[in-house]
Each structure stands twice: as C-alpha cells, then as structure tokens.
C-alpha cells in the first residue's frame, strides 16, 4: 500500500534591491531574512549534520564533485510554523513545513508568500526612505537565469528508483498544462532548432531542462532529479525532490500540482502503471514542445511509436487515477473526500483546457497571465517583443500585494486571509512539523539548532540533547498535543520523551 504522501515546497524568490548601490543579492536576501526574524521571533540556527545534497538516488555519491550547496554563514532560520526561511545562493528561500495533503500545502505555501511580504515590510523599516527590497515569486529573469520551486514527496524506499523515473516522467512533461506559470518569450533554442518566434509559453521553467534524469539542479537540469537526501529514516523512506515545476501563485494550480503528483507517485508506489505505459519518446524535447504549444493540440511522440497530446496523457492519467481510487482508496492523499475533490478538480481543468479557456482564467496562472498580457498587447497594438509585456509578466509575480498584478485578478481561493495569517505562525498538525513548530513557539530560547529530522536542546548545564524526528508522520498534534499541554518546561518535555 502506498504510504501517505507527506509533501512540502521550497521556493527561491527573485530579489531586486532598489537604490541599494553597495548591495548584492546575497546581502539583500540576508537583510530580508534577518529583518523578518528580528521582528517575529528569536532566531534558531539550522543544524547541518544530516545534509547531503550530493547523494544520488541511483546509488552513487559524488563526494567532492560538486561545490558545497550550503553556505553556513548565511542567514538561516526555523520558524514557529515549522518552515525554514534562509538565504540559498543568491535568493531568499522559504521551505514550507511538511504537510499531509495538497490542500494543507496550498495554505502553508501562501503563508510563505505572506512571510516574504512581511519580511519586505520589516526590511523597509531598517532601510533608507527611498530604498526597498522587492521579491518576485517566479522562476526566471527572462535572460537565461533560473531559480527553483522544488516540491518534495515522501516515498517508500522499497520502490525501485528506475520505476519512479519511468512512470512519473510523462506526468512531469505534461502536467505543466495546468501548473505552468506562463512566460513571455523564450530563453533557449526550442525543439524546432530555432530561437523564435516564441511569443508566450506555458511554463517558466521548461526552457531550462536538458536531461531526462540526473543529480544536478543548477545546470543541465534533469526532469527527474536524483538527489537522495531523505531527511528521514533512510531505510524506510525516500524524499522525491522534484525540481521541474513552476512557482505558482494561483491556489488551484498549486493544489493540482501537488495533488496530482502525490497521487501519481502513490500509483507508482503500488505499481499501478505496470500495464499502462505512457512513456514519451523524447521527454526533454517534449517538455519544451508542450510549453510552447498554446493550442495544446500538438501530438507528442510516444515511446511505443504512437502519438498523444499533453491533454490526452493527462486524461489517461486521470482515468487510471479513478481506477486506482476505486481499487486502493485515497488514504495516501488524505482520504476519500480529499481524493474526490482532487479528481473532480483535475477533470474540470482538463475539460476547461479543451473547452472555453476563459473558464480557467481565475484558476490557472498561465491562462490568467496570458489573457491579460494578450489583451493589453492588442489594446495598445504592441509587438510581443515590447518590453512593456515583459514588465507586465514580472509584475504578475510581485509579492507586494499593492503592486502585484496577480492580486488584482480576483483568482479563486482555496484558503482565507485569516487561515493564511494563522499559518504564518502555526504549524500544520498532521506531520512532525507540529512538534518542531510547537517547540519553537514554547521554548525557542532552549532550542540550539533545528533540522528537518531533529531538534537540539540546550538546557544550560547538561550536554546538548538531540531529539531525532526520523519519521515525518510522528510528532503530529494527535501524538503530542497533550504532551505539550502537560509540560511546563523543556526539561519536562525531554524527560517525558526519554531523551
């Protein structure tokens, strides 16, 4: 039986320092993180002991082959909602707490945006009157530089990695038709061998994928990333690190991105695709092709010699998912009701993509963005290369509510403002993030360091005490809420846990 698909999203935000002449993006990112932390809570350091981003899921490690990915001197904080907010390379990055369902993850992803908005406001208070640090939730600067929005899914270690690669690739190539965040123009040579003319494409990220499978994340990016760093018991679990997605602002798009992928991975785990091979002949070529085909009607060459459109592949996936739901149930994605909502929304979006796209203009990023930019272009008689359209594209992703084009579009919500505000400081109750977040809410001054799979307490006189959290499904509200109610001090908590 497929295990529950615990999931999370790491978003690297684009950053622009306005009127900070001596600044660089690393310094600006640090200002943001530190300003937020200073006004929100005591800073708790990150514990790097279990980090091993160079480990490869195919079974080999590349020690020394890659520069260290983690710069330990940079601003880095664990928040009371269980998230991590830090500087990664030259970007502020927010990793959500682990969530149990797609709906939960939509909420904590939105809380992440809110945290960035609060960080910008906090930074403004320490900067000069004409200075500002602005962040964008997108994946490209339009000049060939990309930064990621990575998803993570908990998987059963016993599933052969080669099966995951084979069976999830068709989903990663085609899901962009509803997860794409849209982009004016192109940044690489496309599948036809010529640079243009690409007016608008579905995905921000598709241009940057060059390999079907691999360990890299910063060059020669692979559709399936092999980073094997489970942040959990490695004998039982794998964390599938998905780098192929766009950062979404539309809640429905995030919901579908996470929900369909969690379900497809559960089906892979239960070997449900064994008799339904949807392998694509040339996945890298196809991912570029699908992103540039706004008609959604171009056939993709399949490995068996036939052809299908991206929408066809998604209909097939959905039909199989319905069969899976009937025969195996939907506990892996949060139960029957959550599963039914997912299947219904999945079907509705495919119908919309084949029918009147206008119906999706309030649910999908790329459809919403294209509709506005194309209308603006027509009204002013602009060429697609006009910089005003590229500016409009960027403005869509501006995280400042007053400046964001996205926030003016009255997009469909799956959350409320009150829920998002609460999720800025409260962890989800459904995973170990609850334990992490509650410890930081109650006893931040006693927490010396935190990681995804451990907390280290400093109680003063004793040696540091490390509490392992190797199971993402333990330490939930159901497990430990009462324990927190009963403990007055961290020493009591540690004693009760036998740590």
């Amino acid at each position: 039986m497929a295990i529950p698909k615990v999931c999370g999203i790491e978003t690297e935000y684009g950053i622009q320092a306005v009127n900070l002449p001596e600044s660089n993006p690393i310094a600006a990112s640090s200002i943001l993180v530190n300003a937020y932390v200073a006004q929100a809570q005591k800073k708790v350091g990150w514990d790097f002991e279990d980090e091993s981003p160079g480990r490869d899921a195919r079974g080999f490690a590349r020690e020394g082959a890659m520069p260290p990915e983690i710069e330990t001197n940079l601003a880095n904080a664990v928040l009371t909602n269980g998230a991590r907010f830090y500087v990664d390379h030259a970007h502020p990055e927010l990793s959500t707490p682990e969530c149990a369902t797609a709906r939960e993850l939509v909420l904590w992803d939105k809380a992440g945006e809110r945290i960035l908005a609060l960080a910008m406001a906090a930074a403004s208070r320490v900067l000069g009157p004409d200075q500002e640090i602005v962040v964008y939730k997108n994946n490209s600067d339009g000049k060939g530089n990309s930064y990621g929005c990575h998803e993570n899914y908990l998987m059963d270690r016993s599933v052969p990695f080669s099966r995951i690669v084979q069976q999830v690739t068709p989903h990663f190539v085609t899901r962009q038709i509803y997860t794409g965040a849209g982009k004016v123009g192109a940044e690489t040579i496309g599948p036809q061998g010529a640079r243009g003319p690409v007016t608008f494409q579905i995905s921000q990220r598709a241009d940057f994928f060059e390999e079907p499978v691999g360990l890299e994340t910063t060059l020669k990016r692979p559709i399936v990333n092999t980073r094997d760093e489970p942040h959990a018991d490695p004998r039982r679990y794998r964390r599938l690190h998905v780098i192929v997605g766009d950062a979404n602002l539309a809640e429905v798009a995030t919901f579908l991105k996470v929900g369909t992928t969690a379900l497809v991975l559960s089906m892979v785990e239960d070997d449900f695709f064994a008799k339904s091979d949807l392998s694509i002949a040339l996945p890298v070529r196809a991912i570029h092709q699908v992103s540039r085909d706004l008609s959604l009607e171009e056939p993709i060459e399949m490995a068996d010699g036939g052809t299908m459109t991206a929408v066809d592949v998604q209909w097939e996936m959905l039909a199989l998912a319905r069969k899976y739901a009937q025969s195996r149930g939907m506990d892996c994605v949060g139960g029957a009701d959550a599963g039914e909502e997912l299947l219904e929304r999945w079907e509705a979006v495919l119908e919309g993509l084949e029918g009147d796209r206008e119906d999706l203009a309030r649910s999908l990023d790329w459809v919403a963005k294209y509709r506005v930019i194309d209308a603006y272009r027509e009204r002013h008689g602009l060429d697609w290369a006009d910089r005003k359209l590229a500016a409009l594209d960027l403005t869509y992703h501006d995280v400042r509510p007053a400046r964001s084009l996205f926030s003016r579009l009255d997009m469909e919500r799956l959350t409320t403002d009150d829920e998002v505000a609460l999720a800025v400081t409260e962890p989800p109750g459904s995973t170990r993030a609850y334990f992490r977040g509650r410890c930081l809410q109650r006893w931040a001054s006693s927490v010396a360091a935190a990681n995804w799979d451990s907390l280290v307490f400093d109680l003063g006189s004793d040696p540091l005490r490390r509490i392992p959290m190797m199971d993402p499904l333990k330490g939930t509200a159901a497990h430990v809420a009462t324990l927190f109610d009963e403990c007055e001090t961290p020493a009591e908590l540690l004693a009760r846990l036998g740590a």
Partner: protein, 64 residues
Amino acid sequence: MAQREVKKRTAPARDKQAEEEAPPQSAKGEKLKAELDELLDEIDEVLEDNAEEFVRNYVQKGGE
C-alpha cells in the same frame, strides 16, 4: 504506427468551423470582457514607469 486511441471524457475536440460561427457573446462573456477592460485601464498603475529599465535591471543569479 496508428495514432493511439484515447478515450476522452468530454465532448470531441473543438470544431474550428463551429467556433467561427459561434453565437454572440453571452451575458457572462460580456461581463468578463468589461472586467478585463477595467483591469487594463488600471494596469498602468502597477506597470513600472519605465518598463524598459525595469526589465533590463531585473537580473538574477541562478539558484537551486
């Protein structure tokens, strides 16, 4: 090899001819169009004063 048969759950793909002969926009369509026009009127408020410079200055280092 023959095109793969795909069972669709919806009506057949859009008919180009039928699209051209589509009836006049419904009331819902008119409302959406009016909203879009209003939004386009507002866009100059959010669009940076100097789009050229704004786009040129937006340069990011790679990440991940």
